[in-house]
């Protein structure tokens, strides 16, 4: 058989491919079905976020941060606004902080639902995808109630919020919590503990802890590798230190720690924790005016600030350099998906094509966040 001539096959996966989660292109080198090399090609959605920021005033940047990681607008806004407020030295009222936390956790649930749903779709199960979108729709209804937008909110402003919440929002949120708890179990039954799904994901794409830390991997992807690190607990930005919640890590219930299944299950359990935070926050919102601290004219001093937050995808940070003018001198967004994706070549070599799809899905990347 040794005379048989074989050659490696190069396959272009994307930019238009159902499971690249957007316009990512992966150049796969294949030996039969086995992947020997993965080269991600980015930039198909490079929308010049950083250049735009330099031309905008500080409050005007917020809508652009929305569009960065579009599944996760609230957390993007929060990260940017915290960085800007740090630079400006603004202290926001308690009420604002509470509402921000509630919004961000709701957004985290919505984002994780998309992650889980599309991951099921990658595995070939289309129904969980629609179930997740159905629940996500309920979260979007809540957002719509407070700010009128479904996807990109421009809700969290520098120094405050665009709108105050209504009592109706509070009751609806409580209803949602009641409704959603059993749904998490349902999703787990339908997908997470499905035998075929476990076969497909357990033991695939194992990301060791040291590699993950060295490569700057963060968020559920890092926790899937067993690192118990959550910026909400460890950095205590905003008012997260007031709430009692657990940091979920992959513990190898199925497969080995650091594989696709563990990365996935962290998301499934994080939704439960987000519900806990919302439950604690929703009853304790103090009275106040949400726009009292919004500055009339945003003109910070010369300086710079770097704030890291825990977005559903991982460590989202904004680095703002101010030169004392109305416009930021430079804004750099440290996007979690960008760093998470960079390990894909390392961990998917030696797996099959179908596994590469699963590994890519387990990072829960958003191309708007990678390319900016």
């Amino acid at each position: 058989m040794s005379e048989l001539r074989t050659e490696e096959l190069t396959i272009n996966m994307g930019p238009q491919h159902p499971s690249t989660h957007g316009v990512l292109r992966l150049v796969l080198t294949l030996n039969g079905e086995i992947v020997t090399d993965v080269k991600p090609v980015l930039g198909y959605l490079h929308r010049c976020f950083e250049k735009h920021c330099e031309a905008m005033t500080y409050p005007q940047v917020v809508p652009y941060t929305d569009r960065m990681d579009y599944l996760n607008s609230m957390n993007n806004e929060l990260a940017y606004v915290l960085a800007a407020e740090k630079l400006l030295g603004i202290q926001v009222p308690e009420r604002v902080e509470y509402i921000r936390v509630i919004m961000c956790e709701l957004q985290r649930i919505a984002s994780h639902l998309v992650a889980i749903g599309t991951y099921g779709n990658d595995a070939g199960a289309f129904t969980p995808f629609l179930y997740c979108f159905m629940d996500r729709e309920k979260v979007l209804e809540l957002f719509e109630m407070v700010c009128g937008a479904r996807l990109l909110y421009n809700y969290i402003w520098v120094g405050g919020l665009s709108h105050d919440i209504t009592p109706e929002f509070v009751t609806k949120t409580k209803e949602f919590i009641k409704y959603f708890r059993p749904r998490i179990k349902q999703i787990n039954n339908l997908l997470s503990y499905n035998k075929i799904f476990i076969e497909r994901t357990a033991g695939i794409g194992v990301l060791p802890q040291d590699v993950a830390v060295n490569a700057g991997v963060s968020g559920p992807t890092l926790r899937g590798s067993g690192v118990k690190f959550d910026l909400r607990k460890d950095d205590k930005y905003s008012i997260y230190d007031r709430f009692d919640f657990d940091v979920c890590v992959g513990w190898g219930e199925r497969g080995v720690v650091g594989d696709c299944w563990n990365r996935y299950i962290v998301r499934a359990y994080e939704m439960e924790q987000s519900l806990r935070i919302i439950e604690q926050a929703i009853d304790n919102i103090p009275e106040g005016d949400v726009q009292s601290a919004v500055p009339k004219r945003v003109k910070p001093v010369v300086g710079e600030s770097y704030v890291r937050t825990e977005s559903p995808k991982g460590e989202l940070a904004y680095y703002i350099i101010s030169d004392g003018s109305l416009n930021p001198y430079r804004i750099k967004a440290r996007s979690p998906s960008f760093c998470n994706l960079s390990v894909i070549n390392q961990i998917s070599r030696g797996h099959m094509i179908a596994d590469v799809v699963m590994i890519l899905g387990s990072f829960d990347i958003v191309l708007g966040c990678i390319d900016r």
């Binding site: 569009r67 579009y70 995808f129």
Partner: protein, 169 residues
């Protein structure tokens, strides 16, 4: 098979509509507008709204619109999101790969005209119509699912009024 290939050649011969052509028109247009298969293809933020529209809550399947991953199977392509210069050539190529008759729906401000990136977006194509022809524009950033549905119904209206006969002014 491939009747349209042949029809396209002979379209010029139908100087005016008669009863056969108009009933034929009706059938062909009806079939086209009620089975618009959509490309499983999303670009940016609008893609999420597109997915939400095809999910249970809004259900594009009611209109016979199902997503197909291969460009050869599809009739409409929803340009859902910002088109960058790097992506524009690929979209052109996807468009060329689609079999005729094909329709394009430009979803969202970015695809229409560059949206919020019109001024400083050095890498953003200011409107997909600079690369491929567009049938329906849906404004919004992103458009709500209802708006997208409205756009699709507008596209259906457009298809309904197509004719094999020569258009007389």
């Amino acid at each position: 098979m491939g009747i349209l290939n042949k029809l396209d050649i002979s379209v010029e011969q139908f100087e005016s509509g008669n009863i056969i052509i108009t009933s034929m028109d009706k059938l062909l247009n009806w079939s086209r507008l009620s089975s618009m298969w959509q490309m499983f293809f999303g670009l940016a933020c609008c893609a999420i709204e597109m997915m939400a529209t095809s999910a249970s809550h809004y259900d594009l399947d009611r209109f016979g619109i199902i997503p197909r991953p291969s460009p050869r199977h599809v009739d409409i392509i929803l340009i859902s999101g910002t088109v960058t210069l790097k992506m524009a050539t690929r979209i052109k190529r996807l468009y060329d790969e689609m079999p005729a008759p094909k329709y394009i729906l430009s979803m969202g401000s970015c695809a229409n005209c560059g949206g919020p990136y019109w001024e400083h977006g050095y890498h953003v194509l200011k409107g997909i119509d600079r690369v491929i022809p567009v049938d329906v524009y849906v404004p919004g950033c992103p458009p709500r699912p209802e708006a997208l549905l409205e756009g699709l119904i507008k596209l259906q209206d457009k298809i309904r009024n197509q004719s094999l006969a020569k258009h007389t002014a």
